[in-house]
Amino acid sequence: MTTYRASFYVGLKEGVLDPAGQATLQVLHQMGFSATEVRIGKWIQVMIDAEDVVRAQAIAEEMGHRILANPVMETFDVTVTPV
């Protein structure tokens, strides 16, 4: 058994409104920054014990699909690295 760190990057699907991103963009402008778009998502790190990296990746993807991302609105990417 090895411990892996699964890093999930969860973002809103394309086209889904991101009010938090919009408001943040507005304030960045107010502060004088010249950004053009802000999207706010989640970065989730989960420690997983698994036999190997392939198993770890499979477990992580299942977690992502079943609970960490909301399939109606979000997509996710996950990378797994041993620690």
């Binding site: 699907k13 086209g15 889904v16 409104l17 991101d18 009010p19 919009q22 408001a23 507005q26 909301n70 109606v72 609105m73």
Partner: protein
């Protein structure tokens, strides 16, 4: 090429469109019809029975038809209020679905020129695992919107049944305060005015929400039609609210229409129809969030937080200036003209042209068969509910632990109920009471949506839910100003479902007439059916009332020992039909038909007493509903540290019926013992029965003598109430 099926229409409807236009519609036009001829927008199935509801009353300023009903409150203020449902979206995405439901009904109120001051949420949940998750998301969503925009959620209702597993109900009532000088509607647009679209940029959110999602049953094949989910933005909603109210206050618009179901299509068509004008729209001028959006996408998008304003040219500059101070984006998207049309242009080419009369008001309606309503006069036949011969502790605890009787604080403590600083009674009481600053009279808001009552005899259930909300009002001596109803049912294409929903409305209409309180608006949500399993027909009723002494409500808990406990208007022939206990005992049975005459008298008498409670020695009062007398009494006495208990004497054979029947229109009262005899005689003179049950004590228990003596410790009841956990229910 689109077909009529792609937009949710039937072949017959399509033929009718071709006939009315005298040509075939193009794709965009077909999309417009799909939206406006959907059940959700056209009410094609429900119009025939909604016509039964009485709309006239001494306080009515605006009945159904506008964005919300309006009733007169005092010489300065009116009150706008309405219920809206967001059932289907909340199943698909509970948090955003519920949040946008709150946002949507608030914009309806705002579009009347009213400032929202309260929200009430009426929820039905299933009992399985998924239903738990839905509940969590839905409650979060309601709070997320209401809390952030700053409107208190002051009361509500929750019920549970496995029938709601895949069809949770989310009905939201919003109430707004409307200075009489600020009236506006969608019906004042004048030729020459400019149409402004204000707020969020349009995206592909919720395309087909009204036509497909809310107007058809759920099944696996609807899965793929799911559009981009609408996301609520209460922050933008707040800015939009302030900007709209500022513009209306300054008199800069001649008409306002919010964008809700079917987005721009519905907003433009309804504004044109209501104002009896034509409108043109340049879709290219609509600010879009995404690239490559077609006219079709733009017209059918349900992006939230948008408002349509019709502004006379002379006020245009001032309106744009006001909008700018709120940091909102705004665009001139069209013109108001004389005529009867909705014309859409893209790059100065006309891409759609339809008469609004046809679009808004010509959808073929469901026609009721002859003598359809005859069936409603007789109560439904059903095996009656079983009646336990003796009462014991188990009965009481089972009812109190039932999810429909449990403590709601885990839900309502997630809602801000005190913002705006008017809440004298919030969700820890069975109706809300708001004081309105300088005005000596306050506003009472009560809602009710018992689910079981309409299960077998929907007419009886519809009638009783009206009696239930009016009883809450009577128990405070308040004057009901108007009712709003949210009707939720299954697939209207199935005759038996149609009949159940129609019966529900028949019952509501009868009661509203009998008690003389008009229904000024509401909502119908049909197709609450998943894989052919329909919900219980469910009516959510809301009432707004003028409260005579809002800073000193009639208490709902006794605060002394030795008070006389009495029951006002017990039914002569009680039954357990439709009650929680009956469900616990395995056979729900039909809810009783309420006797109008005596109940009208009882509510009038109670109202009179509660108006001047000191004069008659009325020290505390509760109306009786779900869970019956037992639950009402428990709620009046339980607390973390209970001080007062009760001693009751009931007849041995009748005790279970007396304690657990749920016939609406009864009141549990706590009286000054010195005045108890005069109560009984006064009631008798008024033709109302008052039954003395016992008195309050200073020991923290409810003791019931009914042949044998059964004692309930209040701390144990409290624990059951707080924790629930009947084994076969939601934990």
């Amino acid at each position: 090429m689109l077909t009529y099926k792609d937009v949710g229409l039937s072949e017959g409807e399509y033929q009718e469109i071709v006939r009315l236009l005298a040509r075939t519609p193009n794709d965009l036009e077909l999309g417009l019809f799909g939206a406006l001829w959907s059940e959700h927008c056209s009410y094609k199935n429900s119009k025939p029975f909604l016509a039964w509801l009485p709309h006239e009353g001494p306080f009515v300023v605006q009945g159904p038809g506008g964005n919300a009903g309006v009733v007169r409150f005092n010489q300065d203020y009116d009150v706008a209020f309405k219920i809206e449902s967001h059932n289907h979206p909340s199943y698909v995405e509970p948090l955003q679905g519920a949040a946008t439901g709150v946002g949507g009904i608030l914009r309806d109120i705002i579009a009347m020129g009213a400032r929202p001051i309260a929200v009430a949420d009426i929820l039905k949940f299933g009992t399985n695992q998924r239903a738990h998750a839905l509940r969590h998301g839905i409650v979060e969503g309601i709070g997320a919107y209401g809390n952030a925009i700053g409107i208190p959620t002051v009361t509500g209702s929750v019920g549970y049944s496995a029938l709601y597993d895949a069809n949770p109900l989310v009905n939201v009532l919003a109430v707004g305060l409307l200075p009489q000088s600020r009236h506006i509607g969608a019906d004042g647009a004048k030729p020459g005015s400019v149409l402004l679209l204000m707020g969020q940029s349009t995206g592909r959110d919720g395309i087909h929400g009204a036509s497909l999602l809310a107007s058809q049953d759920f099944g696996t094949e609807t899965e793929s039609m799911r559009p981009t989910v609408q996301v609520g933005d209460p922050f933008m909603g707040k800015l939009l609210m302030e900007a709209t109210l500022a513009i209306v206050t300054e008199g800069l618009a001649d008409a306002v229409q919010d964008l809700g179901a079917a987005g721009l299509t519905s907003a433009l068509a309804e504004l044109a129809y209501a104002s009896q004008v034509g409108v043109t729209l340049d879709v290219g001028a609509v600010p879009c969030r995404e690239t490559g959006m077609s006219a079709y996408d733009i017209m059918l998008s349900e992006t939230q937080e948008r408002m349509l304003l019709s502004v006379p040219k002379s006020h245009l500059e001032a309106a744009l200036r006001t909008i700018k101070t709120f940091d909102l984006s705004v665009a001139e998207i069209g013109r108001v003209m004389p005529g009867d049309f909705l014309r859409i242009y893209l790059d100065s080419n006309q891409v759609a042209d339809v008469p609004t009369q046809v679009l808004v008001a010509s959808c073929p309606r469901h026609v009721l068969p002859n003598k359809f309503t005859d069936r409603f006069t007789l109560p439904a036949n059903s095996e009656s509910a079983p009646i336990p011969l003796t009462i014991d502790q188990d009965l009481g605890f089972r009812v109190l632990r039932h999810p429909d009787c449990q403590d709601r604080s885990p839900i309502y403590s997630r809602y801000d109920s005190t913002i705006q600083v008017r809440t004298v009674w919030g969700p820890d009481h069975d109706s809300a009471i708001l004081h309105l600053g300088e005005a000596s009279e306050g506003l009472q808001i009560a809602v009710s949506a018992p689910s079981r009552w309409a299960l077998i005899d929907s007419v009886a259930g519809g009638y009783a839910v009206v009696v239930d909300v009016l009883s809450r009002v009577a128990s405070q001596g308040a004057v009901p100003l108007g009712l709003t109803d949210g009707i939720n049912g299954g697939n209207p294409d199935k005759p038996e479902e149609y009949e159940r929903v129609a019966g529900l409305v028949w019952g509501i209409a009868q009661a509203a007439r009998d008690f003389g309180v008009p229904v000024t608006g509401g909502n119908v949500s049909l197709h609450n059916e998943t894989e052919s399993r329909a919900i219980w027909p469910t009516a959510a009723l809301g009432v707004v009332a003028r409260h005579p002494h809002p800073k000193a409500p009639v208490a709902d808990r006794p605060d002394a020992k030795g008070l006389t406990i009495a029951l006002v208007n017990p039914p002569g022939d009680p039954t357990l039909g439709g009650s929680v206990l009956a469900e616990e005992l395995g056979r729900i049975g039909a809810y009783p038909r309420i006797a109008p005459d005596v109940t009208i008298k009882a509510l009038n008498l109670m109202g009179t007493w509660a108006r001047d409670p000191d004069a008659v020695g009325l020290l505390a009062c509760r109306s009786i509903g779900v869970g019956g007398l037992f639950v009402a009494l428990s709620r009046a006495l339980m607390s973390r540290a209970p001080q007062y208990g009760a001693d009751l004497r009931l007849s041995a054979e009748h005790a279970a019926l007396d304690l657990f029947n749920e016939t609406a229109g009864q009141f549990l009262v706590f009286l000054d013992p010195a005045l108890k005899n005069s109560w009984v005689s006064r009631a008798q003179d008024g033709g109302v029965t008052v039954k003395i049950l016992g008195e309050t004590t200073d020991s923290p228990q409810i003791k019931i003598q009914a042949g044998r003596t059964v004692t309930f410790e209040l701390h144990a009841l409290w624990q059951a109430f707080r924790e629930g956990g009947g084994s076969n229910h939601v934990g």
